[in-house]
């Protein structure tokens, strides 16, 4: 058994009882990276020197008899749109190719305080805009289950790193499915928290009212452990919820007898791969056999979610990305006569195609003649979608759906077919629109490729998701399957 293939909680226990040191764990994971990274391409930056420094200090503290938390000495990979002090944070964009943040994101401060070891920064679709990580300005990342296919996106590097055992866990960001979709495609657990539960301070903003940072994990127990460290109020994010959070580990190993599960029929409709539908329904059967009550329900506003998502997020991106002007930091063009040309040339040369596309969508929907038709109506429909979820959660503890309508696509397939890329968001974007939490958990394989089941709950209903997911995992073994690399 290689150390790198263990879970976070297994490695934590081995370090706690003195079987292995943090340095040995790090040796194992960097050796694994050396072996498979050429094939996968999950990382944009490796931080080896820094990582060994931290590992040695953790080992020293442990030797002194200090009691350390769950994450002490655990190697973690971080999506490259989360600011890390002194470590390049590129957003996979030429615009930020050489940008080194002078500060840590809130979640990075928390991970460092907990003794987790940042081993590298992972690839993504430029500024987190995309579904396949193919929009990275620097490289593509391959799906560990099939090297001819995408890992999903936008957090494709973070998902592939965990699936290929190149990290024990990782951080991603989820604006419309960017954690859950790649988690599904790579066969691991991915979690999108309640909006406001995890501070966005230091996350390079794409769409501020949708973005949330969350984890990729090897199993549900690991996920619960990580959430404990990410959640919490932060005064530097004005949308951070001033709330206290329970210990999510308390939701593990619970009986789900009597829990109410709703299956929104719109998430199982036309456009969902029939094999995926069957695998998710088989998963639901497992839960039913454990005593959960299952009912089909209807969320009729689901069909409006994709336009709501693209209109509002593009408008927010238009505004957020206005800061990249070639003046204070980031890419500056070599060719300019005056300030106007400095702006235009820096932005045109620094941003990639998809980012420009989203900026243009946002520009269009925000002009005074289009605002009411597009933006204002989308803001209204967002409220209706949230209300519909609120009503459903008055009756049901969790809702279950496929995480994504299709399995991992081949390279190039999504850019050739607009409707595959955009319309496939139907299962993931409503969750961000409503600001609720959701997990993707492996529930089987279709043609050898992993499939994810999405479990959603009301805002702050994380414990119910963990309860159901952990019950599912204890009674299945999909999370134990590994790609052969």
């Amino acid at each position: 058994m290689n150390l790198y293939s263990l879970t976070l909680h297994e490695i934590r226990d081995k370090m706690r009882n003195g079987e292995i040191s943090s340095k040995e764990v790090l040796d194992s994971v960097y050796k694994r990276i050396e072996e498979v990274e050429d094939k996968i391409g999950a990382y944009l930056t490796l931080t080896k020197d820094y990582a060994y420094e931290v590992a040695e200090s953790i080992d020293r503290r442990r030797l002194k008899g200090e009691e350390l938390g769950d994450l002490a000495g655990i190697p973690v990979a971080v999506k490259d749109n989360i600011s890390t002090k002194g470590i390049k944070t590129t957003c996979a964009s030429k615009m930020l190719e050489n940008y080194v943040p002078p500060f840590d994101a809130h979640v990075i401060e928390k991970l460092k305080d907990a003794g987790a070891i940042i081993i590298g920064k992972t690839n993504l679709d430029e500024f987190a805009m995309g579904h396949s990580t193919e929009n990275s300005a620097f490289k593509i990342t391959k799906n560990p289950w099939d090297l001819e296919r995408v890992p999903g996106g936008s957090s494709g590097g973070s998902a592939a790193a965990v699936a290929a055992d190149e990290a024990y866990f990782s951080l991603g960001s989820d604006t419309g499915g960017s954690i859950r979709q790649p988690a599904a495609m790579c066969g691991i657990v991915g979690f999108k928290p309640t909006y406001g539960a995890v501070s966005r301070y230091g996350l390079v903003a794409f769409a501020s009212s949708f973005d949330q940072i969350g984890p990729f994990a090897k199993d549900v127990e690991d996920c619960a452990i990580i959430l404990n460290y990410l959640y919490g109020h932060d005064e530097r994010d004005s949308t951070s919820l001033p709330a206290e959070y329970e210990d999510f580990k308390a939701a593990l190993n619970k009986d789900i007898k009597g829990m109410k599960i709703g299956l929104p029929k719109e998430y199982f409709a036309e456009g969902i791969d029939p094999e995926i539908k069957d695998l998710v329904l088989n998963g639901v059967k497992v839960l039913e056999n454990l005593g959960a009550h299952v009912e089909e329900i209807s969320l009729p506003h689901t069909k409006y979610a994709v336009p709501v998502y693209y209109i509002i997020t593009s408008a927010e991106a238009f505004s957020n990305l206005a800061r990249f002007d070639g003046v204070r930091y980031g890419y500056r063009t070599k060719e300019y006569k005056d300030l106007e040309e400095l702006y235009v040339n820096s932005r045109s040369e620094g941003f990639g195609k998809e980012v420009k596309f989203r900026i243009l969508l946002g520009t269009y929907s925000l002009t005074s003649e289009n605002y009411d038709y597009y933006h204002k109506r989308a803001l209204k429909v967002r409220r209706l979608i949230r209300q519909e979820f609120d009503e459903a959660f008055n009756k049901y503890d969790v809702l279950i759906s496929p995480s994504y309508p299709i399995v991992a696509t081949k390279f190039g397939e999504q850019s050739e077919n607009v409707s595959i890329a955009y319309m496939s968001d139907i299962c993931t974007v409503p969750i961000n629109i409503a600001g609720i939490p959701a997990m993707s958990i492996p529930c089987g394989f279709s043609k050898g490729l992993p499939v994810g089941m999405q479990i959603m709950s009301k805002a702050m209903g994380e414990a119910a998701i963990i309860k159901v997911a952990h019950a599912f995992e204890r009674n299945t073994d999909y999370n134990k399957k590994k790609p052969s690399l």
């Binding site: 406001g196 930091y329 235009v344």
Partner: protein, 94 residues
């Protein structure tokens, strides 16, 4: 339907360069994505309040207490061009 010329106008508002050919290649995708907004026509939105944020708490302000910020050198470390401890830009006044 959005026309190619409108796209070019949007690009200039967003301070992006775009050739006619580039506009040509994305105008179809642009219309596919924006076209889905016509679905909203089925809904009666007259009395629905727009949602500017999604959780009940917005703009949670911290106490306004002054504190140390970054040193000048740290702030300037990422500036693409520097001069005399400042960020260098083109002359904007004739």
């Amino acid at each position: 339907m959005v026309e190619k010329n409108e796209l070019l106008k949007m690009a200039s508002i967003a301070k992006l360069k775009m050739t006619e050919e580039e506009a040509e290649t994305i105008v179809k995708k642009f219309n596919v994505v924006l076209g889905t907004a016509s679905l909203f026509n089925e809904l009666d939105l007259e009395d629905v309040e727009p949602s500017y944020n999604i959780n009940s708490v917005t703009n949670v302000m911290r106490e306004d207490i002054p504190k140390e910020s970054f040193e000048r050198e740290i702030m300037l470390a990422n500036a693409p061009e520097k001069l005399y401890g400042c960020i260098k830009v083109s002359k904007i006044i004739e």
